[in-house]
């Protein structure tokens, strides 16, 4: 697959279809991958594709708006491109998406497949210009974990236990905002966390500040997050951010039958409604 990827990249650069290709290259430690930006034909043999290519490269697209860019995208990455297109952040004609069929990527912190891959339903890619198929038809090695199992475990807890659990998690948040900076769908020029007129919540890394930040971040991704898992991977404090995002995803799927990143034409979740939306909790 790597060969095919390199040839395609060379071809794209040669006939000027794109100015730049965002892909993966081996990192100096020889095992992990890291993002790379290829604009010269000769460098295309730096490109690699294997299970260490965990990064969601569509996060960098917002920096190259208006320029012809090629990007390598797994199934989850291309879903975030769909959401970005749905929210008019990118122009489809500026993008050349090289879809890569993926059999699960490794999150270098823990051994084995990343959590998101274990419950990844399908690795077919919703949107691409060129698809690199997985040659060896190996069986999908991913056990079909129930993706909402950790959330159900937390929901089963008593209210006070949940409060203590999340207070313990949010206590270790150091407010480095890596979860925001690595998320492809976090593209606000001035985030609510940085606003001073008014300042929405405390900048202090104490309990109230961290709680407000994490709730706000999750709410702003409601109906948009496509579970690429980058926020949880980047978080140095090891906070289970996906278990917050997926809780909202689960509620939205159950109550509103809305699937994020499904297709480009549908309206964003909070920008539409159904007359029949549930309102049993409203007095």
């Amino acid at each position: 697959m790597t060969e095919e990827l390199r040839n395609k990249a060379k071809e794209l650069l040669k006939n000027k279809q794109v100015e730049l290709i965002i892909g993966y290259q081996r990192s100096p430690d020889g095992i992990c991958a890291k993002p790379c930006f290829i604009d010269k034909e000769t460098d295309t043999d730096l490109l690699i594709w294997d299970t260490y290519c965990v990064y969601n490269l569509s996060n960098y697209l917002k920096e190259y708006a208006g320029r012809k860019v090629g990007v390598i995208a797994k199934a989850c990455d291309s879903k975030s491109i769909v959401v970005l297109l749905q929210e008019n952040q990118l122009k489809r004609q500026d993008l050349f998406i090289i879809g890569v069929e993926c059999r699960g990527v490794v999150d270098e912190k823990g051994a084995g497949f990343a959590q998101k891959c274990k419950s990844c339903l399908s690795s077919n890619i919703p949107i691409y210009d060129y698809l690199i198929k997985e040659r060896e038809q190996t069986r999908k090695p991913l056990e079909d974990d129930d993706e909402y199992e950790p959330i159900r475990k937390i929901e089963a807890k008593v209210l006070l236990e949940r409060f203590k659990f999340w207070q313990q998690e949010f206590k270790s948040c150091i407010r480095c905002y890596a979860c925001r900076q690595i998320c492809p769908l976090c593209y606000c020029p001035k985030c609510v966390a940085d606003q001073t007129q008014p300042s929405w919540f405390s900048k202090a890394a104490n309990l109230t500040g961290n709680f407000s930040w994490n709730v706000t971040r999750a709410m702003h991704l409601a109906g948009r997050c496509i579970d690429c898992g980058e926020c949880e991977r980047a978080c140095p404090a090891g906070i289970p951010l996906r278990e917050i995002n997926k809780k909202i995803e689960k509620d939205i799927k159950e109550l509103f039958k809305y699937q994020a990143g499904a297709n480009q034409e549908q309206k964003p979740f909070f920008a539409c409604f159904e007359k029949s939306d549930p309102e049993d909790w409203i007095k």
Partner: protein
């Protein structure tokens, strides 16, 4: 430098007995999250293995967020109220040599050249540091390239070396350390002394990556190299918040309480002015500032590099930017 052997149980017993009038802080294994310094109820929770903590010990001295003073507003008049500094004595055990050297650098920042930061200095005065020498440096460590070593005891009161699973070799460095650990353990006999010294030399070689920090970076300030290197950077705060020597902070007024909290040059609006002008608008300037401040500017003010080679920014960077790569591949341009 008296050297002694002490059993692990004995060390824990001593720590627990000190827990009455000292706060015991040490690394704790938070299962899949990594190792973090925590306030411990008993020494048994301690993790003194090879793993490195995610957050440096800096957070107990330059606090990630602390209140500097309050302002009361009653019947139209503002009155300022100072907050009392915590005076509970503390013992922090498991501090790596690189972090202890980081504290020495921070001492110069917060307590020299006419600037006295009482909040930091008070924390320093009330803390006894028990260092833990590194038995197994990992691939990200490069302390030996910055005049450091996995076995040195600078900045510590006591240093312990793991000997097998059940014993430690203990070296008293300062009289503060002598006070609490002076009476413990048996003095090493001659043979043990040699083997310990040999062991120390062997450990020094374990730190494999050797990088050469260039003398002056000024000549390549305008180089396109910085554009290339900083392309993958996300502008997040991980490398600055987890660095034992980064000390930039933010002063914010919240509900009439003055808050000081961590800040970093990586953030996009660190230098945005009220008029909206930003002297460091893109990642290139910001990442270049981080490298120049560590290996050029700080040296001009305090004579030492502001980096101790602990490898945290390499271990935890979400996009694998390696500052050793950045520093060693700097294009040396003769003509400029």
């Amino acid at each position: 430098m008296t050297q002694k052997i002490i059993a692990k149980e004995e060390l824990y017993k001593q720590l627990n007995s000190l827990a009455k009038d000292f706060e015991i802080i040490g690394p704790k294994d938070l299962f899949n999250k990594g190792f973090f310094y925590e306030r411990l109820d008993s020494a048994q929770e301690l993790y003194l293995g090879e793993g490195f903590t995610t957050e440096p010990v800096k957070k107990f001295f330059l606090s990630p967020s602390e209140w500097l003073f309050n302002c009361q507003y009653n019947n139209g008049k503002n009155s300022l109220e100072e907050l009392s500094l915590p005076d509970k004595k503390r013992i922090i055990i498991g501090v790596r040599p690189c972090e202890a050297r980081g504290l020495i650098l921070l001492d110069q920042v917060f307590g020299s050249q006419g600037y006295k930061d009482e909040f930091y200095l008070n924390n320093r005065r009330r803390t006894i540091i028990i260092g833990l020498a590194c038995a197994k440096p990992d691939a990200a460590c490069f302390c030996t390239s910055l005049a450091g070593s996995p076995v040195e005891s600078r900045g510590m009161d006591v240093i312990i070396f793991a000997k097998g699973d059940e014993e430690f070799i203990l070296e008293i460095v300062t009289d503060k350390g002598k006070e609490i650990f002076g009476a413990l353990g048996q003095v090493l006999n001659e043979t043990e002394k040699e083997s310990h010294a040999l062991e120390k030399e062997k450990n020094k070689e374990l730190v494999i990556p050797k990088i050469k920090v260039p003398e002056s970076l000024c000549s390549i300030f305008e180089d396109a190299y910085w554009q290339e290197v900083s392309r993958a950077c996300l502008d997040c705060g991980i490398c600055t918040f987890l660095c034992p020597t980064c000390h930039c902070f933010d002063l914010v007024d919240e509900q009439r309480k003055k808050l000081r909290c961590y800040d970093g040059c990586a953030f996009a609006d660190f230098t945005v002015e009220a008029s909206g002008v930003n002297p460091r608008p893109t990642k290139k300037e910001r990442y270049r500032q981080r490298v120049f401040h560590k290996f050029e500017y700080f040296k001009k003010n305090f004579g030492e590099n502001l980096c101790v080679g602990c490898g945290r920014c390499i271990r935890h960077c979400p996009v694998k930017i390696d500052i050793r790569e950045v520093v060693t591949n700097i294009p040396v341009t003769e003509n400029k």
